[in-house]
Symmetry: C2
Subunit: 131 residues, 2 copies
DNA sequence: CATCACGGTATCCTTTTTGATACTACTGGC
DNA sequence: GCCAGTAGTATCAAAAAGGATACCGTGATG
């Protein structure tokens, strides 16, 4: 193996866990990943409308990071008006068990959020507030 | 259901995932959790020595957040010199499948780290650098 | 008497992350 | 001619996170 890379043996236990978490820990990243997991392919403004409080700047930023980390694919169609589609890569789809486990845990311990602790308050949403 | 709490129906899909991730996304948090998972109970300086580049300030900070979020238990023994033991709570132990899945994913996609993308470089460690 | 280990604090500073607001080029429909 | 929708940028500001360094009281050890 290349010496410039690190192998799993170079670092202490928990290091790869930390590394993996760091890829999905930006604000809205999990929400984006979850939508892409559920709906397959979404355009920029489709995501934006689903996460209605996000600013375009933040959405762009998170999408670019997810793309740089190889978790999502960005496809630009050369047309006007512009059409850019986002979808999970194979690597991104491999996060599925993690996201499911996180969701299960999150739903099970939902009483934590909003009351005490360090977690931010849940946000309201375009799809959540009308019905 | 109480209006002051949120139910899983108040928020969009992915919200609970995001909430769960936010609890484990501080720097070193996963490393700490992993050590506690592996070794059961550890004292402050035991953790500190294992993660040798962490400052006491950061260790304290992360431990207090994990405690506030109900993931770890902090037990102070009234003696001198002080003895403080940290261990996972039941809730913390329920993170096991998540941490395992993250480790599996991280190890499988380890080529990502250090080269490109947004992930930080892996760190060297007390236990990793001698052999 | 000085030093070490214990489990932290206090203070200051830098970096990173997030947010608010305004703006772009282009085209199709009214 | 004007407005809406497309996918973003640019700029500035605020807030949060992280890092460096020094320090605390206590008690045992040398």
């Amino acid at each position: 193996m290349a010496k410039t890379h690190y192998s799993r043996f170079d670092c202490q236990p928990g290091c790869s866990v930390e590394a993996a978490v760091s890829l999905i820990s930006g604000k809205w990243k999990c929400v984006v990943l979850w939508y892409l997991l559920e709906e397959g392919t979404l355009r920029f403004n489709e995501l934006r409308r689903r996460i209605n409080t996000i600013t375009p700047r933040m959405l762009t930023h998170q999408l670019r990071e997810l793309e740089a980390d190889g978790l999502i694919h960005r496809e630009v169609h050369a047309q006007v008006p512009p059409k850019v589609e986002y979808s999970l890569t194979a690597r991104g789809r491999e996060l599925t068990p993690i996201l499911m486990a996180l969701k299960a845990w999150g739903d099970a311990h939902i009483d934590l959020f909003g009351s005490k602790g360090t977690a931010g308050k849940p946000f309201t949403t375009a799809s959540g507030e009308q019905k």
